[in-house]
């Protein structure tokens, strides 16, 4: 599309996002503010991730976009179409083929490599937001490494429910300095952040923040000695399509019989297994 610069943005916008990104890589887990441009999709629909992706993309890249593990959901397809219109680069659904993977709320099942970059879309980048509404104050809490409120939040969950009830977006401690929101990935995916081989970039368009986890960085999910961090339990369950076990599942219910069954949440992983590419 000749009316636009390569990758949609003018070079000044790319430069500003790139400057924020290199600072984010240098200070793992720290939220670097950036200008966050108006995008042709609404804020809250992946504009932070999309801005990061567009600032990274080159003519030789192969991009994969997933939404809740699915390559074919409306959000993922629209973002892919937009990227393709603005760059003309190749798309893929196979995790191993992609050079840049933009994802909403999942980390792919196939382990990422050192030459890949994972871009996560983030709705609320501030892990302390639930306990402190003021941005002015949360900045100072991060500066002082004062995280007692978030520990108290987890403690209260244990007191009420006898377990931590964070579900997705369980806070993590990065490089033993910053408490960070990992974006609303399931707890199952938190472990993949620790010592990841791939660079992980997180972008929040509405909240105007970029942050990062470099490869081989210590990422610990917040937990107590007597209440260790627990991932979702899928033991004894298998995918009704490909037979996979020990992956993150969607729980489905047969409306007629009321019977529960399970399916791989990562649709390309499931498809590749069905096509016997990953067996």
């Amino acid at each position: 599309m000749k009316a636009y610069n390569f990758a949609f943005f003018d070079e000044g916008s790319k430069r500003e996002i790139r400057r924020a990104t290199v600072k984010a890589i240098s200070i793992p887990g720290y939220q670097v503010p950036f200008a966050s441009r108006e995008m042709p999709i609404a804020r809250g629909w992946g504009t932070g991730g999309l801005q990061l992706t567009l600032s990274l993309l080159g003519q030789d890249d192969i991009v994969k976009v997933i939404d809740q593990g699915c390559d074919e959901s409306v959000n993922a397809v629209n973002i892919k179409k937009f990227i393709n219109k603005m760059t003309g680069i190749r798309e893929t659904e196979q995790t191993a083929t992609a050079t840049i993977i933009q994802s909403r709320h999942r980390i792919p099942e196939v382990e990422l490599r050192a030459d890949q970059i994972l871009v996560l879309q983030v709705p609320i980048p501030e892990p302390l937001r639930e306990v402190e509404p003021s941005e002015y104050i949360t900045q100072r809490l991060h500066a002082d490494q004062e995280y007692s409120a978030i520990w108290l939040m987890l403690f209260e969950q244990i007191m009420k429910h006898n377990k931590m009830t964070t579900g997705a977006d369980h806070p993590v401690l990065v490089h033993q300095r910053y408490v960070m929101s990992p974006s609303p990935i399931p707890r199952y995916d938190n472990c993949k952040l620790h010592n990841s081989k791939a660079l992980i970039l997180l972008g929040a368009g509405r909240e105007k923040k970029i942050y990062a986890i470099p490869p081989y960085t210590t990422v610990q999910s917040l937990a107590f000695n007597d209440y260790p961090f627990q991932t979702e339990d899928f033991s004894g369950r298998t995918c009704h399509l490909c037979g996979a076990s020990a992956v993150y599942f969607d729980e489905l219910i047969d409306e007629e019989s009321g019977h529960k069954y399970y399916q791989c949440n990562d649709s390309s992983y499931c498809l590749q297994r069905l096509n016997q590419e990953l067996l």
Partner: protein, 196 residues
């Protein structure tokens, strides 16, 4: 070759990200050799970094011979403003600088505050040679076990950098470039140990 090639800058940016996220990794910006059509006395890769990082939003400082003349030139090309050493966002140290200027720049440049650690200076330093010789051992985020490097530089900058970065997350990030277009980046999190 035009004055600004967005694809060349994008490739250089990806190599910078690779070197910065995996300290000790040397990338070669070889596609950019002899690519500039504006002659200023710096490496081609340094000029490319100026294009990648500088615009009206940031300030810079150049240390080297004829730095005032070069600064005016860089301002005209990038629209970025020159600033004193202790205020500049990006500090470019050219290879023809005087001895001691690298250590002085590390000591004098801004290192951010606890609330805004990203408001620190980034140093882009031209050195004689960058290699994987096992003179220095690197540890920290981005490194699985250890990495090794050697940077041929007369100034004793290792100790000055360690002092500057002692109160993490406050600190500075340094990108090294050599005449063979090698790039090595050291974020503030990397710990350097000298090997005997």
């Amino acid at each position: 070759m035009t004055i600004y090639d967005p694809h060349a800058v994008q490739k250089a940016y990806r190599k910078l990200i690779d070197s910065l996220s995996k300290p000790g990794t040397i990338n070669i910006l070889d596609e950019f050799r002899d690519s500039k059509d504006i002659k200023i006395p710096c490496n081609d890769s340094t000029y490319l970094f100026m294009q990648m990082l500088l615009d009206t939003e940031v300030t810079f400082h150049i240390l080297g011979q004829n730095s005032e003349t070069i600064s005016k030139y860089v301002s005209q090309i990038t629209y970025a403003k020159s600033a004193p050493l202790h205020e500049a966002d990006f500090i470019f140290l050219l290879q023809n600088r005087e001895a001691g200027q690298l250590v002085n720049a590390i000591e004098q440049c801004k290192s951010g505050e606890l609330i805004n650690p990203h408001q620190s200076a980034t140093l882009i330093v031209e050195v004689e040679k960058i290699s994987k010789e096992e003179k220095y051992q690197l540890k920290g985020p981005g490194i699985e076990t250890v990495q090794f490097m050697n940077i041929y530089e007369k100034d004793n900058w290792i100790e000055a950098r360690a002092q500057k970065n002692i109160n993490y997350p406050i600190g500075i990030d340094i990108y090294f470039l050599d005449p063979e277009a090698r790039l090595l980046a050291l974020p503030r999190t990397t710990i350097i140990d000298g090997l005997t």
